[in-house]
């Protein structure tokens, strides 16, 4: 890694290993294009051995832990942003990459504001070329792609780069640098919390996602939830289904919702708009059930059945153990 160009994965420890892997995968992808190495800035109350191992295995050459008691709360995004801003050495050209997803994007924008850095946003592609950063973003609901270019010394972005590939041949044994942050960090504002009544696991980490669209009604979503439970998966849905009050927004899959990467995505009554498909990993296999044989979902599915959900969902449920 040269002193002039640094690619840094910014990782809140409280967000867990999956978020760390995603930020590292993004940093590795950008670094690999220019034969650069990447570094890691971890934010938490104390160093974490799992990240030291993960960062080393991913080929990172430098690991800094910025530690402060206030960083134990992964929801205190302003504290995380200010901590990262305190810890970043602003010499040379730097690209800071946050874990993708709505929280990573909010943290990234807050961090960019703290540092007066350029916020590149939710990038679909990001290259660091000789004449600057070139990046792409989806716009107009995923129907168009915007390519932008900027020369800047300090940029912050989110990039979804798929799964982290371990690099045993290039694994590094890291000796982390620990920075104890001296300045106070903002406290999280007072929030009253109660159960939302959700029983299924989060949709974004499920290995199988059963998902419904506007073609399914309330009774159908009750069946989808049963199916998700029997399959050991989770429940998702499209924006129109959320708008219709059929499931909570935290289960919305798509460009403005969650990004999911299950092994199997069972899409029921979903037409297959670009906005929805943008929330499903390319690695996921899609099984589509739709009564319309011309539905676009069949163009991208691996397996399809032209059927009404009223018949198909009970048939699936009765074939699974109680």
């Amino acid at each position: 890694m040269t002193m002039q160009q640094r690619i840094i994965a910014v990782i809140p420890l409280a967000w867990g290993q999956e978020a760390a892997e995603q930020a590292l995968a993004a940093a590795r992808q950008v670094a690999h294009q220019q034969s650069l190495a990447c570094a890691v800035l971890a934010l938490g109350p104390a160093p974490a051995a799992w990240l030291t191992d993960m960062a080393g295995a991913a080929g990172a050459v430098e690991l800094v832990y910025a530690v402060h008691a206030a960083l134990s709360d992964g929801e205190n995004l302003q504290a995380l942003a200010e901590a990262a801003a305190q810890a970043v050495d602003q010499s040379g050209q730097q690209l800071l990459l946050l874990p993708p997803g709505s929280e990573g994007e909010e943290l990234g924008a807050r961090l960019a504001a703290c540092l007066s850095a350029t916020w590149l946003g939710r990038c679909a592609r990001l290259d660091w070329k000789a004449d600057g950063l070139e990046f792409e973003r989806a716009c107009w609901g995923g129907r168009l792609t915007l390519r932008l270019q900027i020369e800047t010394s300090l940029a912050v972005a989110c990039l979804r780069a798929g799964k982290l590939q371990q690099q045993p041949a290039h694994a590094n044994v890291l000796e982390p640098l620990i920075i104890e942050l001296g300045k106070s960090l903002p406290a999280m504002f007072e929030i009253e919390q109660s159960s939302s009544g959700q029983t299924l696991p989060p949709v974004e980490s499920a290995r199988i996602v059963v998902s419904g669209g506007r073609g399914v009604n309330e009774a159908g979503f009750a069946l989808l939830e049963q199916l998700a439970m029997k399959l050991g998966g989770s429940l998702g849905g499209s924006l129109p289904a959320v708008d219709a009050g059929l499931l909570p927004v935290m289960r919305q899959v798509g460009v403005s919702g969650k990004f999911v990467s299950p092994d199997v995505y069972l899409a029921v009554g979903i037409s297959g708009t670009p906005q929805h498909l943008a929330g499903i990993s390319h690695d996921s296999r899609i099984v589509a059930i739709n009564s319309d044989p011309a539905a676009d979902i069949f163009k991208v599915a691996n397996l399809g059945a032209v059927a009404d959900w009223e018949q198909m969902l009970p048939a699936l449920l009765e074939r699974l153990p109680a």
Binding site: W119, R143, L146, Q193, L266, N302
Partner: protein, 262 residues
């Protein structure tokens, strides 16, 4: 209490996209045939503001609607809900792909007009070119605390309460002072239908405009092109037979992935 709502609108995704290109000036050039409507996030922000005003008719509701193609129709649709003040917001230049520049434009306007909102409501994404950075940076530029992804708002014992859900928890926040809340779509903030008499009245209205100038130059646009087709291997294997045999085949396929209980 002053409630300020910022609305951007998006192209109606029920119709093919209107012609859009990068103009010679480096700005986005949209044809006038754009069918711009309120996004689900815009609608949520407006509905929450209306809900709050329902209980306190003395509270002031001001709405700024982003100018551009089809803005008169958009303004009329909002006017039918009878905000206390409604104006078109012209960003010069209008570069919503640059959250930093745009947020500072809007913050500068809010400051210069001394709007001083106690509650600023804005959709979680501001228009077709923002992916959520603008509202976050606007909160920072205005030095306002940010409550993100609000789903519902109500008065409780005379105090404003904002609700969002995170994982298996729902979170209530009672802001002690001015706050910027981004709003996401939720069944509780579906936009109501306006009264027909107000719709008719809105058709006759003209609208004032306000301009927010930029300080600096935007991120440079290099290209705007159709999104690439999603490449997934495709080759969908369509199942024949009755529903029972299709169900068997689907479960066998999922079982092969190792994800289904035997």
């Amino acid at each position: 209490m002053n409630i300020l709502v910022l609305l951007a609108g998006v192209a109606d995704n029920r119709y093919p996209l209107h012609p859009i290109a990068i103009g010679a000036d480096g700005q986005i050039d949209e044809s006038a045939q754009s069918r711009r409507i309120l996004s689900p996030f815009d609608e949520g922000a407006l509905e929450l503001a209306l809900k709050l005003r329902d209980k306190h008719s003395d509270y002031r509701l001001e709405v700024l609607v982003l100018g551009g193609s089809n803005s008169d129709n958009l303004l009329r649709s909002v006017a039918a809900f009878k905000p206390d003040r409604l104006r078109r917001l012209d960003l010069q230049p209008c570069c919503l792909w640059d959250a930093q520049l745009s947020s500072h434009q809007i913050a500068g306007l809010i400051r210069s007009e001394a709007l001083q909102p106690d509650l600023l409501l804005i959709g979680r994404e501001f228009g077709d070119l923002d992916e959520g950075g603008l509202p976050v940076m606007l909160a920072s530029a205005l030095s306002l605390p940010l409550f993100a992804l609000t789903q519902y708002a109500q008065w409780q014992d005379g105090q404003l309460c904002l609700l969002r859900e995170r994982g298996i928890r729902q979170q209530w926040y009672r802001p002690p002072g001015p706050v910027l809340a981004t709003v996401t779509n939720d069944r509780r903030n579906k936009l109501r239908h306006p009264l027909m008499k107000n719709v008719m009245m809105a058709k006759k209205l003209g609208f004032d405009a306000v301009t927010a100038a930029a300080d600096g130059s935007p991120l440079r646009l290099k290209a705007l092109e159709l999104a690439r087709d999603v490449q997934r291997g495709g080759q969908c294997r369509m199942l024949a037979g009755d529903v029972g045999s299709q169900a068997d085949a689907i479960l066998a396929y999922i079982r092969d992935s190792g994800e289904v209980p035997a």
